[in-house]
């Protein structure tokens, strides 16, 4: 009984919402609006549970003096002050909550956390971007094209000269690693580069690095992204169907009965 009622509600609502998508009638639209309002109301109740967990977690940490308990004091005080200010002066966009807490504290803190990404990207790239295989080498070249193409420096770099530098680097790598495949591939690239200027005679537009970068982003990158999106979409539909039909019951709090 404890599981059957939620499963029945899930099945009923799932089917109703599926039908609602295809029915433009005002009753259907009204039902959708009502459901979204209920979702917001239920989420508001859940916030109470969340805040309760937050207070209990940090209070316990403080009580037992676990590692980082000083931060728990900061967390609890910040939560209390925000609550009092919000209740007393409201959440108006010109109120003290905005002017004294959000703008001077939260805005710079959020920006700082986001800025950490720049440093982490550098360290992650240094650690992980290795040309271990042909695919990863190709990925590296594409990454270089996009990285330079997307900044002002790249606007002055013709793609032809970028390829020349790449060819030199690959030749050196080929000799160092004594890889026949790499040397043959680089040789083909060099031949291509020698033939390329011949096309300039026919006034083929000079390909600059930003154009190449845009092509990499909007063609192969977009193709891969769409392929993953297809799979994600189907997986999402299948998972949703499993939840609606009660095949997937993990969200109830455990496995099957």
């Amino acid at each position: 009984m404890k599981r059957n009622i939620p499963l029945a509600i899930c099945l009923g609502m799932g089917i109703l919402m599926m039908v609602q998508f295809f029915v433009p009638h005002p009753i259907s639209v009204g039902f959708y609006d009502l459901t979204t309002k209920w979702v917001r109301i239920v989420s508001a109740f859940a916030v109470v549970l969340g805040v309760g967990s937050f207070v209990m977690y940090h209070s316990e940490k403080l009580r037992r003096r676990r590692a980082g308990w000083l931060y728990s004091i900061v967390a609890l005080v910040a939560a209390a002050v925000s609550t009092v200010v919000g209740l007393a002066w409201g959440v108006k966009q010109t109120g003290p909550l905005q002017s004294y807490i959000f703008t001077p504290l939260l805005v710079p803190l959020n920006s700082s956390m986001f800025a950490i990404l720049a440093f982490y990207m550098a360290s992650a790239a240094y650690r992980a971007f290795r040309a271990r295989t042909r695919e990863s080498a190709l990925l590296l070249v594409a990454a270089f094209v996009v990285m330079i193409g997307m900044v002002p420096i790249g606007a002055h770099v013709p793609f032809f000269w970028f390829l020349v530098v790449m060819a030199v680097a690959l030749l050196v790598a080929g000799f160092v690693t004594r890889s026949k495949a790499l040397l043959i591939g680089t040789g083909a690239l060099v031949v291509g580069l020698l033939v390329w200027p011949a096309f300039w005679k026919f006034k083929v537009p000079r390909l600059m690095l930003p154009d190449t970068a845009e092509w990499v982003l909007s063609v192969p990158n977009m193709a891969a992204k769409r392929a993953i999106t297809f799979g994600v979409a189907l997986g999402g539909i299948a998972t949703a169907l499993k939840v609606i039909l009660g095949i997937e019951r993990g969200w109830l709090g455990g496995g099957k009965q």
Partner: protein, 387 residues
């Protein structure tokens, strides 16, 4: 006298008639609009009539006036720019008849069209523009049901190896050996997101293993509802593993709803607790690299999975194993090996195959449609558009 009178009469008869001040016929600078169509807007909730027209042959219209005549009488409801030859009238009542006239205005010249036949609006019961989605859905559902039934009959369904999921057992074992906890982040999405549901299913399996191995598990949450579900899930998993006493209620906790504050809190947790294993499974946004890189700096094994395509490169760079897109959804079936779940996984794969066939066929037919002989195929693209 008489000759004088005769002269007068003759003059009167022959005198030119006094010029009646009739104005010359007005020179129309612009002709009225043609082809006016007023119809009930299709696939809507009613109270809407669509009016479309084409410009007349002569003159250059500067603006259009749209006049509606209903029970309240005539009223100009819109003034359109020259290039705007359509109007959506949403101020009408259902099942009330209206007629429309369009005027072409050029300078001081305003030329009205004839009124349209009476039209009324009403709500529709089925959105025909979404028929393509319904057909695709039915096909997919049939596939799912078919393969679930096949799985129920005991047929062995092959699923390829997913390295990230095979590593779960090893990762939990490592944490037990090192005596360090496991951190499981179920993403920053809400419980309405499919990726979060998939992540919670995996959490159940991971929690079961953690209970069996007697390791420690920490599950920080960003969403309060996800927190409540995750707590129940972990508690049930410990009970199923026969270790209900080992469950610690404060191992699953709510942190904060703010994205970067959550990332900062989890980073702090990782740096303090120095976990042996980190799981990042669910929906992630810009904080993905912040979490993954901090975890990597502590030396933990990291298994990540998300359906957010833009965050996948960050996880692939910083984590040991990454579940890409639908591999996350396949995880519950993969780990539990339940026939019903495996059946739906198979249906997904065949659904993808169908999409692939449609994409290839559709591309070929659209290319062919450029030739006159196959121009009928140009309508294919319209069938796949979404409204």
């Amino acid at each position: 006298m008489i000759p004088f009178l005769i002269l007068l009469v003759a003059a009167g008869l022959t005198a030119p008639t006094a010029a009646v001040a009739t104005a010359p016929p007005p020179i129309q600078l612009v002709s009225p609009p043609a082809g006016i169509r007023a119809f009930d807007t299709p696939n809507d909730a009613g109270k809407s009539i669509t009016i479309q027209w084409t410009p007349g042959k002569e003159g250059k219209t500067e603006t259009w006036l749209v006049e509606r005549t209903g029970p309240e009488g005539p009223k100009v409801v819109s003034t359109n720019a020259a290039g705007d030859i359509g109007y959506l009238d949403e101020e009408v009542k259902d099942r009330v008849h209206y007629t429309y006239r369009i005027a072409a205005v050029a300078g001081a010249d305003t030329v009205w069209s004839n009124p349209t036949p009476a039209v009324s609006s009403s709500p529709q019961l089925f959105n025909t523009a979404r028929l393509n989605i319904l057909i695709a859905m039915v096909i997919f559902f049939v596939l799912v049901v078919y393969y679930i039934e096949t799985a129920k009959k005991g047929k062995n369904l092959f699923v390829r190896r997913i390295a990230g999921l095979d590593a779960v057992e090893e990762a939990v074992g490592r944490a037990t050996e090192m005596g360090k906890p496991i951190i499981y982040v179920p993403g920053l999405g809400s419980v309405a997101d499919i990726a979060t549901i998939a992540s919670l299913n995996i959490l159940g399996e991971v929690a079961k293993k953690v209970a069996q191995y007697d390791s420690a598990l920490l599950v920080p949450n960003r969403d309060p509802i996800v927190y409540t579900v995750a707590r129940e899930m972990v508690k049930e998993s410990y009970a199923k593993a026969g270790r209900p006493d080992a469950f610690k209620p404060d191992s699953v906790f709510f942190v904060t709803g703010e994205q970067f504050a959550f990332a900062a809190a989890v980073d702090g947790l990782m740096v303090r607790e120095k976990p042996a294993t980190n799981f990042f499974l669910g929906m992630f946004w810009a904080e993905s690299l912040i979490l993954a890189e901090t975890g990597a700096s502590t030396g933990a094994i990291q298994i990540a999975g998300t359906d957010q395509v833009f965050q996948l490169p960050f996880f692939i760079t910083a984590c040991d194993y990454t579940l890409i897109g639908e591999e996350l959804y396949a995880a519950s079936a993969y780990l539990s090996r339940e026939p019903l779940l495996l059946g739906s996984l198979k249906a997904q794969d065949y659904g993808k195959l169908l999409i692939l066939i449609v994409v290839v066929l559709g591309s070929i037919l659209l290319l062919l449609s450029k030739t006159p002989a196959f121009s009928v195929f140009s309508h294919i693209a319209g069938f796949f558009s979404i409204n």
